[in-house]
């Protein structure tokens, strides 16, 4: 039996009408990795915020090494050796790695800063755990994965013995995530104790010794990772059996969209470099790639929000030049943007306003909005696409991510578009919502819509796409048929390993 370093006992926390945490107890042993698994809103982050002293629990207590921490005092948690790595980093991008790590460790009133010994301590820690980062690099210049390493170093620099990581892989690429888990295992082997929050089954199974499953604020199960399976955990997490739909074979129709050698320049940088693809009616073309490789620009091209530098866009057999937003919509292109809150919907506006804003000319006469018809349209979407948590007149911000996505999908699909652009459609959604979104995309495919699916989730693309192309540094690989693809091959493609025209389909 391991020595217990952390004990959370009987913690409850209520926000208004919702019980975010309901009598949760959890222990963490020295050198152990515990995964806190649950869907969005299951209470994981609330529990960790209580542990770290951001919230005061209504009942229950947190003890580190047998000593109860003063509730609501982050300093007490830090002093007891608890370190937190947030999902959104709390680093100053204009400072160097060393400066960021030192921030908060020295008195505000000391005149001299002991950089030398800090540098030595940082180098020691970095070497011990294999977290190599240049201490003089500006944090703003580092990749997201490196920034996360700095966050971890910062916690270790503060002598953390218990490390909490909130959805650590949410912002990482596949290889970066694998590297992170190697580091976490190394840290555990050296006697640190770790809790990481996740809703991804793969990484929980790969990295954790023990899994605690939360659902609706309750602790529903606790399993040893070696004694459970992905299927069991999925069911525990969601509370029912959820299966993501998979496409059934179908014969694609005629070509509806063709991109020939398109280059797009944004702020003087070529974001797309002479890309080619064709899209057939009734098929899903998957564009896979690590975020930041030109996906956003590709989506913007079809959304009508960027202009080409060169190349041709051929829509239904005729060249269309640059699409404007209005043309994209009138040509029957449904658009689901990557950034739901930034582009897809205006949170402070009513649901009906978001439903009709992009086709406002259909819902107005002589410049006057036909409110009744617009509200009616919104009701139809809510009904047909099972949007929960709002009426047509309630503010869109109140919807959960999954329901907002259903609204955005719905306002596009209800008009039976000829083409559907779906950029990262399931990102950040929980299992139930993912399944619903996938089902809608496949339904559109069956109805003959040509779907361009941009995603970085291999499972998603393999389940939905008929053909797959990888995007790397603004270039598109030749397409491969999904039947011939496997994870390893797609991984290589995402890393830029492909031969032009080798197995084009």
């Amino acid at each position: 039996m391991r020595e217990t370093v952390l004990e959370i006992s009987g913690v409850s926390k209520r926000f208004g009408d919702t019980l975010a945490n309901d009598d949760i107890s959890l222990t963490l042993g020295k050198g152990e990795v515990v995964a806190l698994l649950g869907e969005n809103g299951a209470g994981k982050t609330t529990l960790m915020s209580i542990l770290f002293g951001h919230y005061v629990p209504d009942t229950g207590s947190v003890a580190v090494n047998g000593e109860v921490l003063a509730p609501g005092k982050p300093r007490a948690a830090i002093r007891a050796g608890v370190g937190m790595v947030h999902q959104h980093f709390s680093l100053a991008p204009n400072l160097t790695v060393l400066e960021n790590v030192m921030t908060g460790t020295e008195s505000l009133f000391s005149l001299a800063s002991d950089t030398k010994s800090a540098r030595r301590k940082l180098a020691d820690i970095a070497e011990r755990f294999g977290l190599a980062v240049n201490p003089d690099a500006r944090v703003g210049d580092l990749s997201v994965g490196e920034q996360q390493r700095v966050e971890i170093l910062k916690a270790l620099y503060n002598d953390a013995k218990i490390l909490v990581l909130d959805e650590p892989t949410a912002v990482l690429t596949g290889p970066e995530a694998e590297k992170l888990f190697v580091t976490l295992k190394e840290m555990a082997a050296q006697g640190l104790s770790l809790i990481f929050i996740s809703h991804k089954l793969d990484e929980v199974m790969a990295a954790a010794d023990r899994v605690v499953v939360l659902r609706g604020g309750r602790q529903v199960a606790e399993r040893k990772a070696s004694e459970t399976s992905k299927a069991e955990l999925a069911e525990l997490m969601v509370g029912r059996k959820v299966e993501r739909p998979v496409r059934e074979p179908a014969t694609p129709g005629p070509v509806v969209l063709e991109a020939v050698g398109i280059t797009v320049r944004v702020d003087g940088v070529d974001r797309l470099k002479s890309v080619d693809f064709t899209l057939h009616a009734g098929e899903v073309l998957g564009i896979i790639g690590v975020s930041g490789n030109g996906q956003a620009t590709l989506a913007a091209l079809l959304s009508g929000t960027v202009k080409r530098a060169s190349g041709d866009l051929v829509l239904f057999g005729r060249g269309v030049g640059d699409l404007t937003v209005a043309e994209a919509i009138s040509e029957g292109i449904g658009r689901v943007p990557e950034d739901r809150n930034g582009e897809g919907a205006i949170g402070e506006m009513a649901i009906w306003e978001n439903a009709v804003l992009e086709r406002i000319s259909d819902y107005s006469r002589h410049g006057l909005v036909q409110r009744g018809a617009a509200i009616n349209f919104a009701s139809q979407i809510i009904e047909a696409f099972d949007v929960r948590g709002g009426t047509p007149t309630s503010r869109t911000r109140l919807l959960s991510g999954g329901n907002m996505q259903k609204l955005i999908l719905g306002r596009n699909l209800i008009e039976h578009p000829k083409i559907l652009l779906a950029a990262q459609p399931a990102r950040g959604l929980d299992e139930g919502a993912v399944a619903a979104v996938h089902e809608r995309i496949l339904e559109a495919r069956r109805a003959g819509t040509a779907v361009l699916l941009i995603s970085e989730d291999l499972d998603e693309v393999m389940a939905l796409a008929d053909r797959i192309q990888a995007i790397v540094g603004g270039r598109l690989s030749p397409p491969v048929a999904a039947e011939n693809a496997n994870t390893q091959m797609l991984g290589l493609m995402m890393a830029g390993e492909w031969t032009e025209n080798a197995d084009a389909v």
Partner: protein, 349 residues
């Protein structure tokens, strides 16, 4: 202690917000009145008497409210679209001088009912032009319009001051720097005899309803709100951002210019450099107090006018400086900003 975003904004709270803000401002101003050595409640009573005590004072309060409604609307429509027009004062003066110039030189001799709309329109156009310039700088070069509109106030006021000392100087004014006057027939008719109150008040209130209609019912209103709340989302949904902002600027600058025009046509007939006791700036306060709602602007303008007119009466009878009115209005803006924050967030411990 931390702040959490409210899921729902209770309607009662939204309505009560400005009232609470005003009450808080009056409470704080009461401390200053007490410090000045006057009885607080009596001072407030004198403000009410000063503003509503006689037929004359009522008409005077309404006269003061007229330009405030228009400059308040100017700020409200712009702010709602996230266009920070701080240049109401300059647009007010440019509208005023354009009215005087056109009235004295171009439309003189025409019948009054022909002159009036032309003169008001020329004032509005002048205000529009002064706001379109900073908007163009923002759209073309991303220059922050807060800075440009604010600084253009000084440019506009000094320009007006130059004109009324040179080419537009009234030769009959015994050397006083004042502009030539518009003809009597072109002046706005009085609403009440032997007072300064003119039909400009009705024009201003009518515009409040027109703006409300535009914002709540038209596609332009929907689009300008979308542009203000989330410009990227609006562009994605096909809102023509530049065109929408140009229309917003024309409406906003036009209203501020119209305020100057109406002040000339209704009250003085000519322009001096003290035509406005800061109507353009007070319009910003009025708009914020009204939570950018056009009908609320009418009420907020009334409140502000009551404070200004009433403070004169209080000052005369109790010997407290009239600056108390400025302080109270300024405090009500600050407390309104705090109060609006609390309608959106709640305190959590």
């Amino acid at each position: 202690m931390r702040f959490e975003r409210r899921e729902h904004r209770p309607t009662a709270l939204v309505i009560a917000t400005p009232l609470i803000a005003v009450a808080a401002a009056l409470g704080i101003a009461g401390i200053l009145i007490a410090l000045a050595g006057a009885p607080v409640l009596e001072a407030y009573w004198k403000i009410l008497v000063g503003a509503f005590g006689s037929k004359l004072s009522i008409t005077e309060t309404l006269t003061r409210a007229t330009p405030l409604i228009l400059t308040g609307l100017a700020a409200a429509v712009a702010f709602r679209a996230n266009l920070w027009n701080i240049g109401g004062e300059g647009q007010f003066y440019l509208g005023a001088i354009a009215t005087a110039a056109v009235g004295a030189h171009l439309t003189a001799g025409l019948p009054g009912f022909v002159q009036m709309p032309i003169l008001m329109a020329s004032g509005a156009v002048a205000g529009m032009i002064l706001l379109l310039l900073p908007l163009w700088l923002r759209l073309r070069f991303s220059v922050d319009e807060v800075v440009t509109t604010l600084l253009l106030n000084f440019v506009a006021i000094l320009f007006v001051s130059m004109l009324i000392d040179t080419v537009l100087k009234d030769p009959m004014a015994f050397g006083w720097p004042q502009s030539e006057a518009v003809e009597r027939v072109a002046r706005l008719p009085k609403l009440v005899d032997r007072s300064r109150l003119h039909i400009g008040l009705l024009v201003a209130v009518a515009f409040a309803f027109i703006v409300h209609f535009i914002q709540s019912r038209t596609t332009f209103g929907l689009r300008s709100r979308a542009a203000g709340l989330n410009a990227r989302g609006a562009v994605f949904a096909g809102v023509p951002l530049a065109r929408t902002l140009v229309l917003v600027a024309m409406l906003s600058g036009g209203l501020a210019g119209l305020a100057g025009s109406i002040e000339v046509l209704g009250v003085k007939g000519y322009v001096t450099t003290d035509l406005s006791p800061g109507y353009g700036y007070s319009g910003i306060v009025v708009a914020m107090l009204a939570n950018l709602h056009p009908i609320g602007v009418v009420l907020a303008a009334l409140f502000t006018a009551v404070m200004f007119v009433g403070a004169d009466g209080m000052s005369r009878s109790l010997g407290i400086p009239t600056y108390i009115a400025d302080v109270t209005v300024a405090l009500s803006l600050i407390s309104m900003l705090v109060a609006v924050f609390f309608t959106q967030y709640r305190v959590r411990r």
